[in-house]
């Protein structure tokens, strides 16, 4: 296994990257084709740059609205979850709490229950229980934002706990003795050190909220429709214009790929909750 040359790894990498990227490349190729070209012979090569599909999609008011909803929901959810998880994990890692282990266990267990289990009770709560006069949480952005907290918070707490434990306790004790308040310790001492972890947490929660389908499809109808549901409906509604569908899909992929570039270095430690270190 030692010094066997680097040819084999490179070949395997190429084949693997080809397989992983082929569907995405194909999507891109289709998004760059006119309607007429789409019915021609399939080809893996780009026939030229045709931006018509993107223009078409972005000029469609409905899709712009869906995209906007998705951006608001994912971003707010990511901010709330990251802040709450940051505060909670700081407390969890600094002080011993009675029943801390069972709390942790409970968090993980609940994250493991299929999302479908929570769907129906939440649907009933959103349409019948959580309402003030005419206002109900069903089909609102705030409803989705709060809901995604339930699925992202355990994940975020889990992820940040390992990172917080890794920050030496002596640092914030020293700051405390110098007269810093808890808030100052959090923002001036702990936050700068936890930055990479916080970035991974924020980006992954953003991704999960951005990509979520089941709840977005059932708990919204018009006002808070997100782009995932818009995409799924696209196929039936418009008699399926594949070029536009591909363009829209590429648009949903773009932020993910950009973020991926940022967190690439920390992602393994982040995704395995620190169990595997780089």
């Amino acid at each position: 296994m030692k010094k066997k040359g680097i040819l084999l790894p490179i070949v395997v990498w190429c084949v693997m990257t080809l397989i992983t990227l082929l569907p995405i490349w194909w999507l891109f190729v289709v998004s760059m084709r006119t309607r007429v070209q789409l019915f021609g012979r399939p080809s893996l090569l780009l026939d030229g740059f045709y931006w018509g599909n993107y223009v078409e999609v972005l000029e469609n008011e409905e899709f712009r609205f869906y995209l906007w909803n998705s951006i608001i929901v994912a971003t707010s959810n990511c901010l709330i979850v990251t802040v709450l998880a940051f505060l909670a994990t700081f407390a969890l890692s600094r002080y011993k709490l009675a029943g801390e282990d069972s709390l942790f266990f409970w968090l993980i267990t609940n994250r493991m229950a299929p999302a479908a289990v929570f769907l129906l009770p939440l649907f009933l709560l959103y349409t019948q229980v959580f309402r003030l006069g005419d206002f109900q949480l069903f089909d609102t952005r705030i409803g989705l934002i709060l809901l995604y907290c339930v699925f992202n918070l355990p994940f975020a707490i889990w992820l940040l706990k390992g990172i917080m434990d890794g920050i030496p306790k002596e640092l914030d004790e020293a700051a405390m003795i110098d007269g810093a308040s808890t808030f100052q310790v959090l923002t001036r001492v702990v936050m700068p050190l936890a930055k990479p972890g916080l970035a991974v947490t924020a980006i992954l929660t953003w991704m999960f909220a951005w990509n979520e389908y089941l709840f977005a499809a059932t708990l919204t109808s018009v006002e808070a429709r997100t782009i995932t549901t818009g995409l799924a409906e696209f196929v039936t509604v418009t008699g399926t214009n594949w070029g536009e569908l591909a363009a829209l899909s590429m648009l949903t992929l773009a932020p993910a790929l950009i973020f991926l570039g940022f967190v690439q270095r920390h992602i393994v430690a982040g995704l395995t909750f620190g169990a595997v270190k780089e």
Binding site: I6, L8, P9, V12, W13, M16, T17, T20, L21, P23, I24, W26, L27, V30, L44, L84, L87, A88, A91, Y95, K96, L97, D101, F105, I108, T109, M112, P114, A115, A116, V117, F118, L119, L120, P121, L122, F123, L146, L147, V150, L153, K169, M207, N211, Y213, T228, A232, V235, L245, S249, T252, A256, L257, L260, G261, I267, T272, A275, V276, E278
Partner: protein, 315 residues
């Protein structure tokens, strides 16, 4: 770990003068910091769970609200006698099991081959992870309509060009097709975790094994696999969380069909709830899903916790 934290806290406080007062103030701060997170989880997780338990014992269909009443274990017995439910249970286990095996085995093989450093590796790594970030809905749509489509799909075009018979994936091999989509999204992730773990392995350990005359097979099972065990449990745990609740991939490709071929537990709960509006039955099914998740969780978390407590053993 927990015990050592307590010990540190205890000595630090006892060592200083104003011991008790500071300690209780800290405790309040700490509770205030945890409260928001716990509060959100409590309302949005415990309330639905309590409702699920409540409705599981009641007869309730949204379409016939007047027929509401206590039903005892009737929802459960109906469900347990329903072959569709057991079918869905089996399909869930097959889907989760097959996806886990494929991603982990492929991931290990790829990681072993790619362990070596070569030019352009960091870019290749980044690109390999791309499918992991694709929306499940998009992944499903692309695979179904642009790759596996029997007429327009790229795969059928390739198969046709080579001269092989064209396959209608979602008609004839629905479960395989879904596992392929999942494997496409998750294998790079598994591979990356294993690769990272392999790189942390001390070189001397491998050399010592070679010098002792170990062959490649012994090397793999005696040295590499034990070293990877922590990474494997981590991958299995994270993947099973996501695989157990897979929905978008099924909904957008097969819709549970053909027949019941891809109706999983998640999917059956969804149809009971939102097509039949049978709250009682859906809740009973939901409780079974929670129990199943708990069994998996207890089993896996014990495993991970044990591994994490002996890091020096697994490195």
């Amino acid at each position: 770990m927990a015990a050592s934290l307590q010990g540190q806290g205890g000595t630090a406080v006892a060592g200083r003068g104003l011991a008790k007062k500071a300690w209780s103030r800290q405790r309040w701060t700490m509770l205030a910091l945890i409260a928001p997170a716990v509060g959100v989880l409590l309302v949005w997780m415990i309330v639905p769970l309590a409702m699920t338990i409540y409705y599981a014992f009641h007869r309730y269909n949204v379409l016939y609200p007047e027929r509401f009443g206590f039903a005892g274990f009737r929802n459960f017995s109906l469900l347990l006698n329903d072959p569709m439910f057991w079918g869905a249970m089996g399909k869930t286990l097959i889907l989760v099991g097959a996806s886990l095996i494929v991603t982990v085995v492929l991931g290990i093989i790829l990681a072993l081959v790619l362990e070596k450093d070569f030019p352009g590796r960091s870019i290749a790594r980044l690109m390999a992870l791309a499918p992991f970030f694709v929306m499940p809905v998009v992944a499903a749509l692309v695979w179904k309509n642009m790759l596996m489509h029997p007429v327009y799909g790229l795969l059928s075009w390739i198969l046709g060009t080579i001269g092989l018979p064209v396959v209608d994936w979602f008609q004839n091999w629905p479960m395989t097709a879904i596992v392929i989509i999942i494997a496409w999204q998750w294998t790079p992730f598994a591979m990356l975790v294993f690769l990272t773990s392999l790189q942390s392995m001390p070189e001397e350990q491998k050399e010592a094994a070679w010098l002792d005359g170990a062959n490649a097979v012994q090397m793999f099972f005696k040295i590499i696999l034990p070293h990877l065990s922590r990474a494997i449990t981590a991958v299995v745990m994270i993947e099973s969380i996501f695989f157990l609740s897979i929905f978008a991939e099924i909904f957008t490709t097969t819709g549970g069909g053909p027949g019941q071929a891809t109706t999983t537990l998640s999917y059956i709960i969804y149809t009971r709830a939102f097509l039949e509006w049978n709250v009682g039955s859906a809740s009973a099914g939901g409780l079974f899903a929670v129990i199943l998740a708990n069994i998996v969780a207890i089993f896996l978390i014990r495993l991970v916790a044990r591994n994490m407590q002996n890091p020096e053993k697994f490195g």
